[in-house]
Amino acid sequence: MLALDYLFAGLALGAVAALSGVGMLVTYRATGVFNMAHGAVAMLAAYLYWQLTDPWGVSKWIAALVVVLVVAPAFGAIVERVVFRPLQRRFASPAESLVATIGLLVLMLGVAHLVWGDQARHPASLFPNDVLHPGGLTVHVDAFADLGAVAIGTLGLGLLLRLTPLGTQIRAVVDRRDLAELSGVNADRVAAIGWALGSVFAALTGILLASQLSLEPFNLTLVVLETFALPVIAGLTNIPIAVAAGIALGIGSSEMNLFSPEPGPVSDIWNALHANFPVVLLLLALLLRQRLAQSGGDAGIATTFAQRRAVEPSIPMMALQYGLAALALFAPLLLDPVHLRQAQEVPALAIIFVSLVAVTGYSGQISLGQAGYAGLGALFFAKVSGDTPELFALLVGVLAAGIVGFATGYPAIRRRGLFLALTTFAVGTFVSRFVFQQPYFTNGVTVRRPSVFGWSLAGDHAFYLFELAMLAIAFLIMYNLRSGALGRSLVAIRDNEDGARAVGVDVRALKVLIFTVSAMLAGLGGALLAQQKVAFDPTSDFDPLGNSLPWFTVVVVFGADSAAAAVAGAGLVVLVNAVAGQAGAYLIIVGLLASFLGRLPGGVAELSRRIVEWVLTPRALIRRYLADTAPRPAPVLSPQGRAALERLRAARAERS
């Protein structure tokens, strides 16, 4: 084929990518929320379209119009009303909104999984699949149809933003929501429109893409999610740049077909690069960019969903809690073999969750790539344990994960909030695509359970005890991270990074350190997870979408700053899956909880603390109530803000 043929072939993919990127940008511009659930909206829309056209026999154009122009905007508006308005109302940080979108993503994945299962579907293509040959070239009609859809969508959007009052209002709301509201802009309506528009673009993306790829819950969602390279390249602001980057991405990816090296290492690398072009682009864009225009200020730290209670519980109370927890952890040893095997997943998963508590709860850094570290721990353990003692191999696995964590810590020094979240997700996806999915690394990998000084841990009881011992080590490290000067310095960074810098807290060293320690813990948990299953299965255990994001969500929902709550979370995940008899069953519960984090600050941990407190001493509740209603400090405005507020008040007084 000619270079020109590839150019036309790349157009179709590029156009759809652009459509997706523009959709994410629209929601972001109108609401200040980066919608991680964008890919899931596209996926659900594609399923709905398939359901309407295939089993129910609705004509494809009617089905597409219903999904894109009726269902999608209604869905977007409802999501804004139910999930995001409460968050905005209590001035939640962008980090909390981000978690809510991840919760939504997890919820939608769970629903799709439940309703349609894992089986791949093949929806009908909206546009004809005809191929024309003008002048010897090969031109696909649908490529141009896709391009047309992008052109219409983008132009319409550009006109809306530039020429209508709504566009001005959107820009005002994004700049300063409070001031825009003072001057009479209905910020809620603007946000609802932003969500509706974003969903329309997502639905269109999903329907167009599903006919080019096959339709599975995780696959399609991840492909769409990867296009957030485009908003990042566009600096989260410039729509034309996002479109151009999308088209360039499609064409560039297609043109890579021109070069096919001899079979060998070079060709392996080249093919991996080609197949994962968007991921490479995403990681490069995130690493090369120095800053990202984050709206809503720099309040990207995770303080609000990691509320450390200043007053520690009393010693008998703690003894009771830890006694009960220990009892619960040892109880599975009495179970029958089948259930004991299921319960073995709990300590392994708990260590991974605890690693997230270290990075997110204790020091306020968002990490969306934890499955990458866990998988590296498992993979290196499996590789090295072939001809060395297993405990040594475990150490190598933990160190390998730690090295990648160290490397992620460096970009984390200057990045916060959304920027950091996207970077860690990109790193996790990169590791998954370039290590876990490469036959060179994973072919013929076998996992076996360790033996300690000649004492085999292959038996289920022995292995479970070994896991508990590892969990105890993880808890010891967590205790050290939390106590004393080190713990206070980490919380200082979480609470206020500028404040921590002002007294000489070495933010750089601490961030790198916490990412390294967290990755090492995750690597340990991942290795145990693989040992427990006696298999290295990256698709079901170490997937960036299917594991990293749900894991993070579980930890936040259960209270990000509580290691004990993380263990409870692991228990619940395993229990729900076991009861439902399905691996993805927990996604729905956790997704629902995360979506409503706006109404449940502090997560399940905070809720259960309050309940226990109430049962034990109603007086404590009264005190809490009194503390909650104590007058809050007045907001601190900058001189400019104060002046602007004065002007607005004066203008209002004049009008009335």
Binding site: R488, N496, D506, V636, S638
Partner: protein, 260 residues
């Protein structure tokens, strides 16, 4: 130590917020920076603390060029600061807020700090807890914060939090102390106490530099005053001289007239 800004210039696009301004904070004295809104005080202040990089000019600490150092590196050399927009640690108690200051005042090399971190993770903290505790207790009583010692900072009013921030900076044992609007949100009694604290800190040999709107406080407490308007230095010297300076009078009258 002596903190010196030489020929500091900072531009934002076409706007020159600070235009070739030089200031000195001498040890054992209180230096104040005044000027109407938009005069460039805060920008200059940010250049001195390291939150902003000047486009031209240098920042010297006892003759050592620290222009390119990050805020935390400057703090480790002994440059303490407070914030106009509060930067306390809301989930920690007041005592812990000050504790972070006390615990991070090691002025040793980076290897020592990293070593201490690693030992901390392994469960062998090498911190002299009793000494830090003493520092925190003394500072709490100096600032009259004993009553709120165990209250989470997030639950306290702005005026108290200004003092918490000051206390955190003091526990860090600074040689230079930069205060950004320390009296805003304080009542009269608190302002009087603040004045007393600032004098005492300076008497201990610290170079204090403050940016302040409360002109009465400035003229009461400062040994040297720099007045800025529209990004430029318009007057400097002893408080009485600066107050009487025609350019300062004009700048303040102008603004007062514009505000009303």
């Amino acid at each position: 130590m002596r903190l010196e800004g030489i020929g500091i210039t900072r531009r934002y696009g076409g706007l020159t917020a600070v235009d070739d301004v030089s200031v000195v904070a001498e040890p054992g004295t209180v230096t104040a920076l005044i000027g109407p809104n938009g005069a460039g005080k805060t920008t200059l202040f940010q250049c001195l603390t390291g939150a902003e990089r000047p486009d031209a000019g240098r920042v010297l600490l006892d003759g050592r060029d620290i222009t390119k150092l990050s805020p935390d590196a400057r703090a480790r050399l002994g440059v303490g600061r407070t914030f106009q927009r509060l930067a306390v640690f809301p989930t920690m108690t007041v005592a812990d807020n000050l504790g972070v200051g006390a615990e991070n005042r090691t002025r040793g090399p980076a290897a020592l700090r990293v070593g201490a971190l690693l030992l901390g993770i392994l469960g062998f903290p090498i911190v002299d807890g009793a000494r830090h505790q003493r520092t925190v207790d003394e500072t709490l009583s100096l600032l009259r914060l004993d009553a709120v010692r165990d209250v989470p900072a997030g639950a306290l009013p702005t005026g108290t939090l200004r003092l918490v921030e000051l206390g955190r900076a003091l526990c860090n044992d600074p040689s230079v102390l930069l205060l950004d609007e320390p009296a805003s949100g304080l009542d009269t009694a608190e302002t009087d106490n603040l004045q007393h604290v600032i004098r005492q800190v300076a008497a201990d040999g610290v170079a204090v530099l403050l940016v302040e709107h409360d002109v009465d406080l400035v003229f009461d407490v400062a040994d040297t005053v720099y007045a800025m308007a529209e990004g430029r230095l318009i007057a400097s010297g002893r408080p009485d001289d600066v107050r009487a300076h025609p350019a300062v009078q004009a700048a303040y009258l102008d603004v007062t007239a514009g505000d009303r």
